[in-house]
């Protein structure tokens, strides 16, 4: 089983459109996992059927039982997150601020603070029009994006791959450099960076590459909107060469990505276009790369 993660650092570079294209090209051989759980958009292109849904719980939430509370205020004194507010003389917990550390519950002399499991989102296992399986999720609004839901999606994707004897897992990774990205990368065999030749795109590529280097995995890159700034595209190429990142393709600044999105499909479904051909070649090269190079082992 080989796991490929598509990431970008910066948003809006085309990561999800390219992930969706690879999912389509891989067909039923590929288990698709959307780990961008905070702004999950892959389903808008792949139209999964949401066949199986489960709530996901992570961490705790404190609640004060007003019938037990004698308003001593010790909870507010120990809380480092300013989550305890006094309204009309009564102490209560502002959910958004509560970290679930449980300190208040431990020190409350009246045992008036209860800790509850916190629902932070939902995850789904779906069928795609390719016959493939997709695992995806939706983080609840304001929930802590701790990477745990991402880890759950990956775990379920691996489970599905084992059950069905599939060879490939394709992961649409999270943006940024924080916990969700690290969870997206954990245990993967290869990463595909989707970048763009903009000052921000290049800056974020280098930042996220600094993170990826800490993992043992093959690296490849697609430069999207390459014709937007040819000079910077050359700088990106030089960087890729220096860093030993396999350059898969330069894609043009093309409204076909948006047109496909409006139609709810992927660009590779418009067969024969230069964009579709470039992505088909990238997918083939990526599979070849993983077939021939030593990569990280799975836990």
């Amino acid at each position: 089983m080989k796991e490929i993660v598509v990431i970008s650092g910066k948003g809006g570079t085309g990561k999800t459109s390219i992930s969706a294209s690879f999912s389509l090209l891989g067909g039923e051989d590929v288990i698709t996992a959307d780990c961008d759980v905070d702004a999950a958009d892959l389903h808008l292109l792949l139209a999964p059927d949401f066949d199986h849904a489960e709530d996901f719980y992570s961490g705790l939430l404190a609640r004060i039982d007003p019938s037990r509370c004698d308003e001593c205020g010790i909870c507010a004194q120990v809380c480092r997150f300013d989550a305890v507010h006094v309204v009309d003389g009564h102490h209560h917990i502002r959910e958004l601020d509560c970290e679930g550390c449980g300190y208040c519950a431990r020190v409350c002399p009246q045992r008036a603070v209860q800790l509850q499991e916190r629902k932070v989102g939902q995850w789904y296992r779906s069928r795609l029009r390719t016959g493939g399986t997709m695992v995806h999720a939706r983080l609840d609004i304001g929930a802590e994006n701790s990477g745990k839901l991402v880890a759950k999606v990956k775990q379920e994707a691996r489970e599905a791959a084992r059950e069905q004897g599939r060879e490939w897992i394709l992961v649409d990774g999270a943006p940024g450099i924080g916990c969700p990205v690290m969870s997206s990368l954990s245990g993967a065999d290869a990463v595909v960076f989707v970048t763009e030749p903009t000052v921000s795109g290049f800056h974020d590529l280098r930042r996220v590459y600094d993170l990826v280097r800490r993992f043992d995995m093959a690296t490849a890159c697609i430069v999207n909107k390459a014709d937007l700034n040819p000079e910077m595209t050359r700088s990106v190429h030089a960087f890729l060469q220096e860093a030993g990142i396999r350059h898969l393709a330069d894609l043009p600044y093309d409204e076909a990505f948006t047109e496909a999105m409006v139609e709810g499909c992927t660009v590779v479904e418009k067969e024969g276009t230069p964009l579709a051909r470039a992505l088909e070649e990238s997918w083939t090269r990526l599979r070849t790369l993983l077939g021939t190079e030593r990569t990280g082992d799975h836990p």
Partner: protein, 288 residues
């Protein structure tokens, strides 16, 4: 007044709007631009300015003092984040898992876990004329953005008066770091694009901002691309559209080069002026 510039989806033009708007407003008045997208801070790439202040930002995590420890196990028991493991001969502290709640440290009966600072990132404050740029930047390998965002907001609160106009470039998404950047803002501008991804993530952002009880308006970037569903949604929900920045390859090229757009693309500049006017009207209404 603090205005958060947010978006559900990344890459819709949040930073473009923030830096261009700040530059336009700073021609007539003092304005602060705060980059709270600390995982990938990009505002500074577009502004040349002199450094006013720089500091390393820390958060407090426990460190184990072997000599004091009696291996009672309280620390491991109270930690909800599995950041401490007591092996019988050692207490291992996994600092990156720690949420700095102080429970282990303060409940330790023998003071064997004093809280000590761990560096999580940097804060920089730069100035160019009447524009102040304050930026947080998370260290690579640090997982939690929220403490750095909170620290940057504290710095803004201590350094600038309530009357100062502060534009905050917020992190994308609708999770904890976006909430931290938006929850106490006086007004939220949501930057979106007229595409299915843009609309899907805008709806989540609107739900979030409404849940926080913050007033908001929408800026449509790359107007002319995609379809009219974002317009229809805003109309239906009664959300004002402050401006429509036209889809322009020239603007995308300016952005790619790290340039401000408004001096080069007049049709985008006119819409950015509209956003500036919109903010100033809100400011006056707030003062009245």
């Amino acid at each position: 007044m603090r205005v958060a510039i947010a978006s559900g989806k990344g890459g819709t033009g949040k930073t473009t709007v923030s830096v261009n708007l700040a530059d336009l407003l700073a021609r007539h008045r003092p304005v602060v631009l705060a980059d709270l997208d600390v995982e990938e801070p990009n505002s500074g790439l577009f502004v040349q300015a002199e450094t006013v202040h720089e500091e390393a930002v820390h958060r407090m995590v426990p460190s184990w003092v072997a000599d004091q420890c009696t291996f009672c196990g309280v620390c491991q028991e109270v930690c909800q984040f599995n950041a401490l493991i007591e092996t019988g001969s050692e207490v291992m502290v996994f600092r990156e898992l720690c949420h700095s709640c102080y429970a282990c440290s303060e409940l330790c009966p023998v003071e064997a876990l004093p809280m000590t600072p761990m560096k999580i990132g940097d804060l920089s404050h730069r100035r160019s004329g009447s524009l102040d740029l304050v930026q947080g930047c998370l260290d690579i390998g640090q997982e939690q953005a929220v403490p750095l965002i909170a620290h940057t907001l504290d710095y803004l609160g201590a350094r600038f008066s309530k009357d100062t106009l502060i534009l905050c470039d917020a992190p994308p998404g609708t999770a904890c770091s976006m909430i931290e950047a938006v929850k106490d803002a006086d007004f939220v501008l949501l930057v979106t694009e007229p595409t299915p991804f843009g609309l899907h993530d805008l709806k989540l952002a609107v739900e979030t901002v409404r849940g926080l009880g913050r007033p908001c308006a929408v800026v449509i970037n790359r107007h002319g691309l995609g379809n009219a569903d974002v317009e229809a949604y805003c109309r239906q929900e009664g959300i004002p559209v402050a401006a429509r920045l036209p889809h322009s390859r020239e603007a995308a090229q300016c952005y790619a080069r790290g340039q401000l757009i408004h001096p080069h693309v007049p049709e985008v500049a006119a819409q950015l002026e509209a956003v500036a006017g919109f903010i100033q009207r809100i400011e006056q209404e707030g003062a009245a």
